[in-house]
Symmetry: C2
Subunit: 377 residues, 2 copies
Amino acid sequence: MPQLDDLATPAALLDTARMQANIARMQRHLDGLGVRFRPHVKTSKCLPVVQAQLAAGARGITVSTLKEAEQFFAAGITDILYAVCIAPGRLPQALALRARGCDLKVVTDSMAGAQAIVDAARAQGVALEVWIEVDVDGHRSGVPPGSALLLQVGRVLHDGGLPLGGVMAHAGSSYGCDAPEALHRVALQERDGTVLAAQRLRDAGLPCPGVSIGSTPTALAAQDLSGVTEVRAGVYVFFDLVMHNVGVCGVGDIALSVLTTVIGHQPDKGWAIVDAGWMALSRDRGTQAQQHDYAYGQVCAADGTPLPGWLVTGANQEHGIVALADGTATDVAQRFPLGTRLRVLPNHACATAAQHPAYVAVQPDGRTHTWPRFHGW
Amino acid sequence: MPQLDDLATPAALLDTARMQANIARMQRHLDGLGVRFRPHVKTSKCLPVVQAQLAAGARGITVSTLKEAEQFFAAGITDILYAVCIAPGRLPQALALRARGCDLKVVTDSMAGAQAIVDAARAQGVALEVWIEVDVDGHRSGVPPGSALLLQVGRVLHDGGLPLGGVMAHAGSSYGCDAPEALHRVALQERDGTVLAAQRLRDAGLPCPGVSIGSTPTALAAQDLSGVTEVRAGVYVFFDLVMHNVGVCGVGDIALSVLTTVIGHQPDKGWAIVDAGWMALSRDRGTQAQQHDYAYGQVCAADGTPLPGWLVTGANQEHGIVALADGTATDVAQRFPLGTRLRVLPNHACATAAQHPAYVAVQPDGRTHTWPRFHGW
């Protein structure tokens, strides 16, 4: 069981105490609102993380790929919502999962999609539960909650003999908020649009037991979820600098960081060069358009203490440039001698985690475990 | 041996005919200039690709991580330049490779780095060949070619009993060029700075047999490489939209693309939603600051024919938004019905390839092979 000091860099560190606190916070919040919690596992793609979420009270999981569904079903998790409208070519794989006993639910937002699911399910003689995606903020997929299309899609599924599981929405525009009032408005819009869609389906005589909403910001902003049956959220488990800018976590809540080593300096420029480039940090620049731009990440000491003003200001594949945000040159080679270890907090935890085959889970006592994560589709 | 039509999406397609043409072009060019070619394998991290480069005449390889060195050494490739200044904590791993017979060369650009290598090599009784990194354009690492530091670093290594293999430089600023004249100037600057550094070491009585330069743009722009012994380049093997903007390849030379499927539409916005988001495309927006911004990539028909004006204009984790660059709404659901397969050409091939566990190598006859690539460090 290696200690932190023995780790080769770059490495994705997971502070398990922070992660557990994040899990407990979300579960407590949603328990208080009387809704089920179905975490989105696309952030971690890691069994021990998801087991911790389920142990804390989560019921079922949300996935972004059928690879995630396959992997978590193999680990014994059966209640799975695949929350991306399914490509017709992926239907045989989804039906095979269902036939093997996985309680997989798929999503569509079109007549063509609904018909493709009906046809494939009929051809294979397998009933596949379907949810309809609702568009509550115009940011991506889904049918408008007040549209005729919503009822038409529901009718195709129901008449095609498929169980209509419910409606689901994701207010992705919440990532663009940076004030509590704006976030509260988006959260209400997500709830109201999704509840409206469910009511319209029921009024039309169609079943709609499930009403599923969620994003980390709107889940944490919600104060009243009347009419909602479940909430989904993903990145809350690690948090990141984007979520800090949105205002839903402190920098001290961020559980994921990249451990890196100083490999050189350009003293005249005030640069320390580190061995975490974009391959270790990702190219995600999600804070660029936010109130505080963290460039490629906030630099911390090896123990995780943030070093104010120090950012990864540039990144090539395996090189990061650590410098003060204001560009002032300092005695950087004295401050961060060759071999110094630093941590970098990520802009976007989902993207940074995806660059690593495994997490190094660090316990409060400094002991570490390797937690593998899935890669690919 | 599955055909293209049978592939699940998203998938990283590799057009092997284009790749072979790119390999042949670079090798022919450098053969004509009378220098060795040492391709940078960080782009592909894939054995069949590197075997094709070696079969065409490349001699030795360049790596960006010791994982790459380990993997390619295990496949029988021994002449390896690790072209990132080595972290002191990685020296035992490098020395172990050397002790096992790998002709691994490491790089440093500081007194502290040189001393760390000397100390580690002495402690383990293994001679490790070292190259000195030279900074020719101020973009990242390296010592200035005219500096006293260059000679001091060389002296530490030589007096420490280590073989001084040569000097190496990478004119990363060439990626910012978009005119042949500017590119030519950077190429001359890379050559002249590196040759100067070598000459100064030799004049000081230090050995400096190797003079290594390279980046894809400067390698292709070079017309006279007097004094240079070898060239390194990586992304040329696949090319990408950044390189097209720099002016060193046509769109039709780009060998890497992401195959994707239409999973929905927002007809009022002129959007088709596809199953390639940033997880499949990467977050790299390298064309953003160039003369032509391709957003998250150029959209092509399934057969690879570019569709002018159609870009992936937005990307979430597993969703891409395909739209016309000028934002005009069209009959997008008729043009790209649900299930339509498209290809996306990448901004930056190194970053896009890294998102995939394997390539689907597509032969001219449409047959496909799975070529795995490494992940992690």
